[in-house]
Every structure is written in structure tokens, then in C-alpha cells.
């Protein structure tokens, strides 16, 4: 009798567990304020609508390596993964991400524009559904620059007028472009020049002029902290991080939008999911990347929605009550001089230039 009871209970538990996992999905993202904005804008409304429980995993920083390992082990436990576009291209190349048919698998804009037209040029890979446009740009300490606040990117290389430390990311991407731009290379020629060994040397030589005054960062939170502590006079980081330093923490910091580099962050669905899980992931993507949902995310974080049709719907910050539009990197006032991360170029040159860059750093 006792045994039967235990068996019954065990099988009941198994049944419940089975049912629960059928209505569960694991979504991988970056954690922190960014995951919170997704929770509010996407996960909560989606769970309410469908009853699916969403589990968060803050592993986006190692997503490429982990997905490859999972794929090799034949056990992919993630359903939807948030990655930057460059990683998405790599995952797509490696056959680790599912190819998406944008027009049938994504929602059209409210006025009927197809998804592929609505996202436009931002569809940089067959596997990648863009979510936000963010930018890597500079912030500076308003109290340390005197009466002469910097207005253009070359202030970073101007030690005479802006003495003090500056923080740059410990990788060649973006820094090499800025260096060439400030060494007299025309914006349209930057990547042609950077593709040659001479151009790479030129960029490193320009960076060499400020090398002793640079603090190199590798986590997005470094520059905001360094600015808040007064360790650096200016530094590059993601615009959303600077927004929170300026508007939420009220530090004496201002944005230098000049020559900001646009980059994309978005979703991929791992390859090799079971039919059922893949269907659920696609259903989630269809919901979470529609026009309203993308506009909703901008209430919680200052990144621009990737759909053209979402821009007019961007409202006020949910807690601060300020208009978010002027804080978007895509706002016309901020976007007078911009770069778009050159995915094709960096997919080819990243390893080569990174080796040179690291050798230069260690010199």
C-alpha cells in the first residue's frame, strides 16, 4: 500500500514537472537594467497572454561559446538568445542559429508594411532579428573640461585642451575608426584605409599619441564608474549606461554624441531545437518584436527601437517621467555624425587586427 502511494506520488510529480517544462522557455540576455527592460516590455505581457513561464539566464556575454558547446553536446537548453549583431553573424556562419524568414515569421507594421521593409537595413544577418539600436559613444565630466566642453570626437585625442585620463574599450573595434577619423581620413574612406597594413599602423600610431593617458575597459560598467569617481575626464561606453549616470544618478556628466557608432542588439533562435520548442520560440519572437513591444522597451532604457514604425510611439521613461526621444541615439539631434558598425569588415579583420592591437597594447 505504502509503495503504491509513493509510486503514485512520484509519477504525479513527474507528470507535473513534464507539464511545467512544456510551458517553460529559457531566454538568455545581458542581465541588469537591460534584462529588466525586456522583462517589463516583453516577458510579462507574453506570459500573461500565453501562460508560458519565462526563465531568464544572464549569459549573453558568453553566448557564442556556450551555444557552440551545447550544440556539440547535442543538448541545447536555451530557447531564445539575445546577442549583438556581430555575434549573431558568427553564430549564423557556424550554423548555430536558425535562419528566419522575416516576412512570414515576424509581425508586419500596423500600417501593413512588411517586417523586412520596417527593419530595413538593420537586417544584417539571415538569423538575426534586431531589437534595439544602441551606440558606443563618449561621455565627459562637465566639471573637468572648464568653459570649453568638447563637441567633436577628436577631443579624445586632444591632450592639450583636455588633459587627463580617458577610457577606451580594450579592443580595436571603434577605436581604430575614431583614430583614423581624427588623423585626417575621410569618413567614407575609413574602412578602405583600415583594410591595409599601412592604415592599421596609421590608426595605432594615432592611438599611440594618447596611449599613456588611456584606461582600457572591458566591461560596459567600467566607464560609468570611472566617470563617477573622477578617474577619467571622458570615456566611451554604451549610451544607455551614460543615460543612467546622467539622468538616474545625476552625476556631472554629459554626452558627446559626435561620431557615435551604432550597433544592433537582438534575438537569435538556436539551431537544433525540437519542433515544439522552436515553434514556441518563434511565437515569442513574433510577439516580442512587433511595433508596440519594441516601442515599449524604450520606456525602461534609452536604446532606440529597431523598427522604423516604433519610433513615433516612443514615450516617456516609466519611472523618471522624462521624454525618452531626445535620449535615443537615433534622435536627429544626436545622430548628426554617426557610424554604423561595419559587420562585414570586422567579421573578416577582427582576428588579424586584434592580434596587432594586443601586441601594440603590450608594447
Amino acid at each position: 500500500m505504502k509503495i503504491t502511494k509513493t509510486t503514485l506520488m512520484a509519477s504525479a510529480i513527474v507528470a507535473v514537472a513534464g507539464a511545467a517544462s512544456a510551458e517553460e522557455m529559457t531566454i538568455v540576455s545581458w542581465g541588469g537594467a537591460y534584462s529588466k527592460s525586456q522583462l517589463k516590455a516583453y516577458h510579462e505581457p507574453y506570459s500573461e497572454k500565453t501562460g508560458v513561464t519565462i526563465l531568464n539566464d544572464d549569459s549573453s556575454a558568453e553566448a557564442v561559446a556556450k551555444l557552440r558547446a551545447m550544440n556539440e553536446a547535442g543538448n541545447v537548453t536555451w530557447d531564445v538568445v539575445d546577442v549583438v549583431a556581430a555575434d549573431a553573424i558568427r553564430l549564423c556562419d557556424e550554423g548555430l542559429a536558425l535562419e528566419i524568414d522575416f516576412d512570414t515569421q515576424l509581425a508586419p507594421a500596423p500600417d501593413g508594411t512588411s517586417a523586412s521593409d520596417d527593419f530595413g537595413d538593420l537586417l544584417v544577418s539571415d538569423c538575426f532579428i534586431p531589437q534595439i539600436v544602441y551606440s558606443t559613444t563618449f561621455g565627459y565630466r562637465t566639471d573637468l573640461v572648464g568653459d570649453n566642453p568638447p563637441t567633436e570626437i577628436c577631443a579624445v585625442f586632444d591632450l592639450e585642451n583636455y588633459p587627463g585620463k580617458r577610457s577606451l574599450e580594450k579592443r580595436p573595434i571603434n577605436n581604430m575608426e575614431w583614430a583614423l577619423l581624427c588623423d585626417g581620413v575621410a569618413k567614407d574612406d575609413v574602412y578602405d584605409v583600415l583594410a591595409t597594413p599601412e592604415g592599421q599602423d596609421q590608426a595605432l600610431a594615432k592611438l599611440d599619441t594618447i596611449k599613456d593617458s588611456v584606461v582600457w575597459w572591458s566591461a560596459g560598467a567600467d566607464t560609468p564608474q570611472l566617470l563617477a569617481d573622477g578617474e577619467v575626464i571622458m570615456g566611451s561606453t554604451y549610451n544607455g549606461r551614460l543615460f543612467s549616470v546622467i539622468e538616474e544618478q545625476k552625476q556631472p556628466v554629459a554626452m558627446l554624441w559626435d561620431a557615435q557608432v551604432f550597433d544592433l542588439d537582438g534575438w537569435i533562435i538556436p539551431a537544433g531545437l525540437s519542433e515544439e520548442r522552436q515553434q514556441r520560440a518563434l511565437d515569442y519572437i513574433m510577439f516580442a518584436t512587433d511595433t508596440q513591444r519594441l516601442a515599449d522597451q524604450a520606456k525602461y532604457i534609452s536604446y532606440g527601437p529597431a523598427r522604423a514604425s516604433s519610433a513615433p510611439l516612443v514615450g516617456q521613461h516609466a519611472d523618471l517621467g522624462i521624454d525618452m526621444a531626445p535620449h535615443m541615439p537615433t534622435d536627429p539631434e544626436n545622430a548628426k555624425n554617426t557610424f554604423l558598425y561595419n559587420y562585414e569588415f570586422w567579421a573578416d579583420y577582427r582576428d588579424d587586427i586584434d592580434a596587432k592591437f594586443q601586441a601594440w597594447l603590450a608594447k
Partner: protein, 423 residues
């Protein structure tokens, strides 16, 4: 009992020869012992040995080229890479056939990323031409040579074919060559261009700094351990908590705390400026360089030195030193001739622990090391998680492992591994 049975084999109680019976019982005992440790053995094998061996194997494994382009690789054997002339139509036809199949299986971009490690630009070449080659028919659309060159002019570049031929071998030394700042070329192994050499330097730096960290750990840990071992139990337990408290704190927290302490607007600099030892515009640079790495890592690894030293020193009987002194030895002689030699096993164990942990460290150098304080493991991490060049990462890891084993062997030769005690 006759003489004959006396000189024959000795028998056990059941009549079998004693030797055989003994061997059987020994074997049974061994089997039982094996059965007892089997779960652990299996666990270690599955979770430790197999993954490590398979990871090490990646450092030479290179099947991707011949698996993705099987026909092309065969044709490449007939092509003279030194001739300076493009391969003939047969090779292009084989290549088109291979590519159509590879694109179908979505393998071509994988190969592109692999070859991009050797020749910049091949990643986009495979991706871009993939979109167009997809539409070709491997039979009807011949000849291919001109068509392929029109699709991407890279296919008309002798150098591209030389690279593919060079890296078509299923087992390659290419990753190991890359790991020591060399490269595999059609003319054999050659040094990397000067401006890309970094890995040897990082290996050297990793070993050098690990030695310094081990040394400073010994210097700091020895007096502390001595104190702990010789104070009354109640006091030494209190002090022990102070040693263990940071040991139980998260590594990241401790590293970040050092950042707060050491940065130019940090606690130490502020105090020095306030006391007037340092001018406000000449604050000390003690982080984001080698010095910062050494300080932070010495602090983090110190407990690994203190604990073995302490447990060895505890076992040194105080009677020896008393005996030495009673026979007229000075304090110094007593320490140097009597106490110190007995504490060496603790130093040995602590040094091995700290050194081996130090050369694999990565998060602390990443956070406080700046540009001059990073270790080889930071490059391994980059190749594992960013460039996905796992072959190179595996080669670097293998070399690091070999260096550790070599040093361990040297240690055994010089000091003797029996001379290591954890307590």
C-alpha cells in the same frame, strides 16, 4: 607425508597450490577495491579526463577542410603551389561541386571562419560567394573557372588556393605554430610578422609574474603562519578567522575592492595626498599595471600559502628548538638550522599551489591588469569566447599544461616531491 609431497608446491587447505590461491585472493581484493572506487573513477574519467583530452585534441584536429571540400582537396594534390599559376578547370569543377553540397549543409561559412584565422578576408569570401554559388548546377553550368572568379575575384588569387592547400591536412601543427607566434605557410613554418607577435611575450610574462606572486606570498605568509602556529590556541583561532574570511569572500568582490583602494582617486592615493606625502597632481599609478596585478593576486592567493605552511609548522615539535638553544645556538642559528628546514615541506606545498593557481588566473589580471599586467589566460579566454578559435585556445592550453608539468618535474628533481606536506 612423503618426501615427494614435501618438495612439491605448497597446498592450501582446499588442495589448490598456495601460490595460486594467494594470487586469487589478492586479485579478488583488488577487484573489490576497484569496485569501491569505481564510481569516483568513472566520475573523474567522464567529467575530467575525457573533456580535457578532447579539448587537447582540438589543438591538432583540422578535419574541416577535407570534410567540407573532399573533391577539391584531392585535386589540390595535383596542383603545384609553387608554380604561381592558377589551378585548372578540373579543380574549379570539383570546388563548385563541393561548395554546392557544403552550402546545402550550411557548412561553407564554418569553413570560411576556419580559414579566416589564417588568411584575413576568407570569411566574407565564403559567405558572399555562397549566396551566388548556391544557384549554380554542378553539372550543367560547367566550365566553372571564369564563373567562380566572376562571383568573387578571390577565387582568381593564387594565394587563396595556396592557403587552402596548406591547411587541408586533417592533423595540423598550425595551431601550435600560431601559439608560439609562428605560422604554417606553403614554405613551412615561419615567424609571424613582428607586429603580431604577442603570445610568447605573454607566456613569459605569465611565468615571471606568477613567480613574483609566489615569492611575495612566501614572504608574507611565513611570519603569519609562524605566529599562528606558535600562539595559544584561543588567539590563533581568532587570527585564523581573519585569514579565512577573505578566503570565503567572492573573488570578484575582492578584486573590485582593490580597484577602489588603488585607483588614482582611490583610498590610498586620497590618504597620501591628504597626509601631504604625494602632490595632488602626481598621484601614484598603482593599478592597471603589473604592480596592481601583483598586489591583488598576492592578496587573493595568500590563504593558499598560509594554510599548508601553518599546518606543517604546527607539527614541528618545540623541543627541538629548545634543545638547540640549550646547547648554545643563537636565535638565528636555531631558526635557520633547526626550524626552517623542518618548515620547507609547507613552503613547497604552498608554492606549488599558489604558482599553479597563478599561471591560470584570468579574471583578476583582466580587471586590475591594464595592458601590462594581463596573462596568457586572457588570450585563451578571448579565443574561446570571442574569436571562437578553439584550436588555438587548445594549443595555448596544452602548452600551459606542459609548462606546469615540466616545472613540477623540475621541482621534484630539485626539492623532491616527497618533501611536500599539506599537514
Amino acid at each position: 607425508m612423503t618426501d615427494a609431497t614435501q618438495s612439491g608446491p605448497m597446498l592450501a587447505a582446499d588442495g589448490t597450490p598456495l601460490k595460486k590461491s594467494l594470487a586469487r585472493s589478492l586479485r579478488r581484493r583488488k577487484l573489490r577495491a576497484l569496485a569501491l572506487i569505481a564510481p569516483l573513477l568513472l566520475f573523474v574519467l567522464l567529467s575530467f579526463v575525457i573533456p580535457i583530452v578532447s579539448m587537447l585534441f582540438r589543438s591538432v584536429e583540422n578535419g574541416i577542410v577535407s570534410q567540407t571540400l573532399p573533391l577539391t582537396v584531392v585535386e589540390l594534390q595535383n596542383w603545384d603551389a609553387e608554380s604561381g599559376e592558377l589551378p585548372d578547370e578540373a579543380l574549379y569543377a570539383a570546388f563548385a561541386k563541393d561548395m554546392v553540397a557544403a552550402i546545402d549543409a550550411k557548412e561553407h561559412t564554418k569553413l570560411g571562419s576556419r580559414l579566416n584565422y589564417e588568411q584575413t578576408g576568407m570569411s566574407s569570401m565564403f559567405r558572399q560567394s555562397g549566396r551566388k554559388i548556391k544557384r549554380l548546377d554542378p553539372e550543367a553550368d560547367a566550365p566553372f573557372k571564369e564563373k567562380l572568379i566572376e562571383i568573387h575575384d578571390g577565387w582568381g588569387d593564387v594565394n587563396i588556393w595556396r592557403v587552402i592547400k596548406t591547411h587541408a591536412v586533417p592533423i595540423t601543427n598550425g595551431y601550435f605554430l600560431n601559439a608560439v607566434d609562428m605560422q604554417r605557410t606553403p614554405e613551412g613554418a615561419q615567424a609571424q610578422p613582428e607586429d603580431k607577435r604577442i603570445l610568447i611575450k605573454l607566456f613569459g610574462r605569465t611565468l615571471f609574474m606568477s613567480l613574483i606572486i609566489t615569492g611575495s606570498c612566501i614572504l608574507l605568509a611565513y611570519p603569519i603562519s609562524y605566529l599562528l602556529a606558535n600562539l595559544p590556541m584561543r588567539v590563533s583561532n581568532m587570527l585564523m578567522i581573519l585569514v579565512l574570511l577573505p578566503f570565503w569572500t567572492s573573488l570578484l568582490v575582492r578584486t573590485s575592492a582593490w580597484k577602489v583602494m588603488l585607483q588614482q582617486q582611490g583610498v590610498i592615493n586620497e590618504t597620501l595626498v591628504w597626509l601631504g606625502f604625494v602632490a595632488d597632481d602626481a598621484r601614484l599609478v598603482i593599478i592597471n599595471n603589473q604592480f596592481g596585478t601583483i598586489i591583488a593576486m598576492t592578496h587573493i592567493l595568500l590563504p593558499f600559502m598560509i594554510l599548508p605552511m601553518y599546518s606543517v609548522m604546527q607539527t614541528i615539535p618545540p623541543t627541538y628548538t629548545r634543545a638547540a638553544k640549550s646547547m648554545g645556538a643563537t636565535n638565528w642559528t636555531t631558526f635557520w638550522r633547526i626550524y626552517f628546514p623542518q618548515s620547507i615541506p609547507g613552503i613547497g606545498a604552498g608554492s606549488i599551489l599558489v604558482f599553479i593557481l597563478a599561471i591560470g588566473y584570468y579574471i583578476t589580471p583582466e580587471i586590475v591588469g591594464g595592458t601590462k599586467g594581463v596573462f596568457i589566460s586572457n588570450r585563451i579566454a578571448y579565443h574561446i569566447s570571442s574569436s571562437l578559435n578553439w584550436g588555438l585556445a587548445a594549443a595555448l592550453g596544452t602548452i600551459l599544461l606542459a609548462v606546469v608539468l615540466l616545472l613540477y618535474w623540475c621541482y621534484d628533481k630539485i626539492v623532491g616531491i616527497d618533501n611536500v606536506k599539506l599537514g
